[in-house]
Symmetry: C2
Subunit: 272 residues, 2 copies
């Protein structure tokens, strides 16, 4: 895959909203010579509670937009879109497309013994069983747990909040009852890295510490592997952001996910 | 308004999702001779976190669909769409269009002394200040409080749940600090009637009971007033449901809001 990609590539990063900025955050130091084009389909978020057909339609139109803007490689930095529409996107575009599920599963393989991997994700990702299929293909068992309230809690900004701790405890207690022997927790949603410290604290309080795999970081590593000709000490990455809804909100919320100010946001209409 | 409407009217009811079914639930016994067409724009929900331009675009296309299906009167059973797009919809359609804000404000006037009315609503409804404008026009002061987590909690089914109680308590404590003299609480989101008992319990525990106004019920009463020639003892209402995303989910979640099984759901594509 490396041969056709330039040394200063244009990399498209797509998410339904802000969560994919955690993938971009992990990517910036790994491929610093790239120009990044990020699209948050904020007018149609969240994808996590919608059907496969609707998600595929939204994701393909978003991916085509990034290709039109010059992306040479596309990162689907959204677990739900990867789980339900990766093949549709790959078929629709003539460029390499990397999702978050496969890298997450690979990272779990590196960390895991043969116990089931516990996967926390949105309702749609869990219903797709994409992580179960990817983990099974690597010889690992999986136990998936839908956590619909975690995205709204992160977007409310309740990162370090007793209510968020309570909700995490409820979800994890249910999940650990179903998979008491698990040693590995895979964060199957790009919002979840923001509450990883809270998840770790809850696991400690339950007396059940787990190795936590963050699919955002695993994906960034997989993308960087496509650019072996790029030095990490060269260059300064540049970013252009597109959103389908409020620019002001994208700048305000996005900076929490990116870990730095989000500037240069352009509003676009994908016809939704 | 009553003269041009038939005795067995076709009434369109629109919401971004399921919440408007609480308005339909209140309408069925008040105008039992009607045929109801309900549209939940579930592929593009939630509206409550999106911008005015996006909400207006979605709401107008949804309203036009219901008019094309034969609606003689349209109820915008969505606080966010009413707050941000009622005028756009009224200008786009040649039929009477009734939103939820004005009836809610009127009901608060009937219940209130001159203390500020406390309004709980989504972020977008609060940012529009539609309730403040409507209440001020009636000579009432308003204090609005955005409660972004209540819709996700209701949709998770955590109606009677300690976490929901905690979240309600946090929101109400903040709101009552800002408006300590309020006597009246207006539920400015059609999801909130489902947690009205929990809200009442929290208010009692805070030692601050309030008269609760439900804009869903107030709107149904306002719609019924357009049909003074209809007897409440006549006929049996019929309903046709349309959704822009998963029919299965609409049937499953919708029955909680309607208080009876939701059958005959049709999937439509509004181009989102």
């Amino acid at each position: 895959m490396t041969t056709s990609l330039s040394k200063s590539p244009t990399i498209g990063v797509f998410d339904s909203g802000f969560g994919g900025l955690t993938v971009l955050h992990a990517l910036l130091p790994l491929v610093p010579t790239a120009h990044y084009i990020y699209l948050g389909d904020t007018a149609r978020l969240p994808y996590g509670s919608k059907s496969r057909e609707t998600i595929a339609r939204y994701a393909v139109s978003s991916a085509k937009f990034l290709h039109q803007q010059g992306a040479e490689l596309l990162v689907i930095a959204c677990n739900t879109a990867t789980a339900l529409a990766l093949e549709d996107i790959q078929q629709a575009l003539p460029i390499p497309v990397i999702g978050v599920v496969q890298p997450g599963a690979q990272a779990a393989l590196s960390a895991s013994s043969s116990n089931p991997v516990l996967v926390l994700a949105t309702a749609a990702t869990v219903q797709s069983h994409a992580y179960t299929h990817a983990l099974n293909a690597l010889g690992l068992a999986a136990c998936e747990k839908a956590c619909p309230l975690l995205v709204p809690l992160v977007e409310e900004g309740w990162i370090n909040h007793p209510v968020t701790n309570d909700v995490i405890k409820i979800y994890l207690t249910e999940a650990l009852t179903a998979a008491p022997d698990t040693q590995t927790l895979l964060l199957g949603c790009t919002h979840y890295p923001l509450i990883q410290p809270a998840i770790q604290r809850v696991l400690a309080s339950l007396g059940h510490p787990l190795t936590i795999i963050d699919s955002a970081h695993a994906t960034a590593t997989a993308v960087a592997a496509c650019f072996t000709n790029v030095s990490r000490s060269e260059g300064e990455p540049t970013c252009t952001f597109y959103a389908t809804d409020s620019i002001e909100k994208f700048q305000r919320l996005g900076s929490n996910f990116l870990g730095q100010p989000v500037a240069d946001v352009n509003l676009i209409d994908l016809g939704g």
